[in-house]
Amino acid sequence: MNKKYLLLTGIIIALGIGMLFMPQRDTDKQLRPEMLLAAIDDPSRFLSTDDITDRLVKQDPALLLIDVRSKEQFNTFEVPGAINIPVDSLLSAPAREIIGQKAKDKVFYSNSDVTSDQAWILCKRLGMERIYVMQGGINTWFSTIVKAVKPVETASVEEINLYQFRSAACQHFFGNSETKTEVATSTKKAVTVTKKPAGASSGGGC
């Protein structure tokens, strides 16, 4: 009888020791590949340039634009109020802290929406929430907002309204941007990520 008790104890101890040597899994927080693929197939992560501009003009404090292009490209031109996290430093500790903020909608953008989407996929894999991608990236933002094309006389009311919104937004950003974009960016804390002061532009029109 004692033997059976010993056997039971032996089994339990063996299992316990076995568990000790199980490889540690740090993947538990990560999304499983199947789940990540389903997320990739879901287009709801894409925000249009007009939506983002609307939120920028309204100075939505929950919006955080993240420019994943290189520092040089960021310095040449950026969407007003964006911070720069080059994609190479996407997974550095300070960048993760910024992207991990739960209270903000983080929107990635690059020249197109490929690099920004890659950044999105990697962050999504790490289980980060409220992250989005700007559809078409800065190329589309520039061609629709900054160089908004005036619709023809016969265009529908929606089109004319859209054009007026876009040109007003452009005026807002670049007309006398000094004060306004300053407000829009001041809520953001840039820890180590390079942030450029809002561009002063006395140049007038767009």
């Binding site: 056997l7 997974l91 197109s112 989407d117 894999r125 029109g205 767009c206």
Partner: protein, 212 residues
């Protein structure tokens, strides 16, 4: 008698525990699909130019295939039915990890062949490409262009006249110049000043115009 029943009960418990453990071990399956690359390793994929294929390279491959590449169309089956490039295999994004599709990639790997993923846009093929590399499929290239650049319906001259990649910055430097004043600190940092100066007349016009 009492002693006997006690022994029996103990035997039953031991047998039960052993059975549970054995069933557990038998039914335990390692997940078929798991991340092989860490996030940091995956990040390095993005800079690896040997993992992408440009429209020019693809156009050459389409003209005379070397038999070592297979084009994979990640658009949905309706779009695939409407038109696709010759010999392409349709694997829509959401079906990427279906068993038969995974075996397509495994077979390619065994045969030493390479898969080229293309979608309606580069962005569409980008997700599956990154997923495949992260889960350990190495012989997969990303086509850095749109389907229209491969489309057999459009003529060769058209495909070759669109060498542009998706991530090329398209920002109009003239319009950008009109936005920022010449006295701005930004421009001091830009080395290509003489080039910009040569376009001054356009800039002046744009500025005098005022509006957008």
């Amino acid at each position: 008698m009492n002693e006997l029943s006690k022994t029996n009960r103990l035997t039953i418990v031991v047998v039960a525990i052993v059975l549970v453990i054995i069933t557990g071990l038998i039914t335990f399956r390692r997940p078929d699909l798991k991340f092989v690359l860490s996030p940091t390793e995956s990040l390095q994929l993005l800079n690896d130019q040997s993992l992408v294929i440009t429209p020019q390279q693809a156009a050459l491959l389409l003209k005379d295939s070397d038999g070592k590449t297979l084009f994979i169309d990640v658009r949905n089956s309706a779009a695939f039915e409407l038109g696709h490039i010759k010999n392409a295999v349709n694997i829509p994004v959401r079906e990427l990890f279906d068993p038969k599709n995974k075996s397509v990639f495994r077979d390619l790997e065994k045969a030493g062949q390479t898969a080229i993923l293309y979608g309606e846009t580069e962005q569409q093929a980008n997700g599956p490409w990154l997923m495949l590399h992260q889960t350990g499929f190495k012989n997969v290239l990303l086509f850095t262009g749109n389907y229209a650049q491969l489309d057999p319906a459009s003529s060769d001259s058209v495909t070759l006249s669109l060498p542009q990649m998706s991530e090329t910055p398209l920002i109009d430097t003239l319009a950008l110049k009109a936005l920022t004043s010449p006295a701005n600190g930004r421009q001091a940092a830009v080395p290509a000043m003489p080039v910009k100066k040569s376009v001054a007349p356009v800039k002046k016009e744009a500025r005098s115009g005022g509006g957008c």
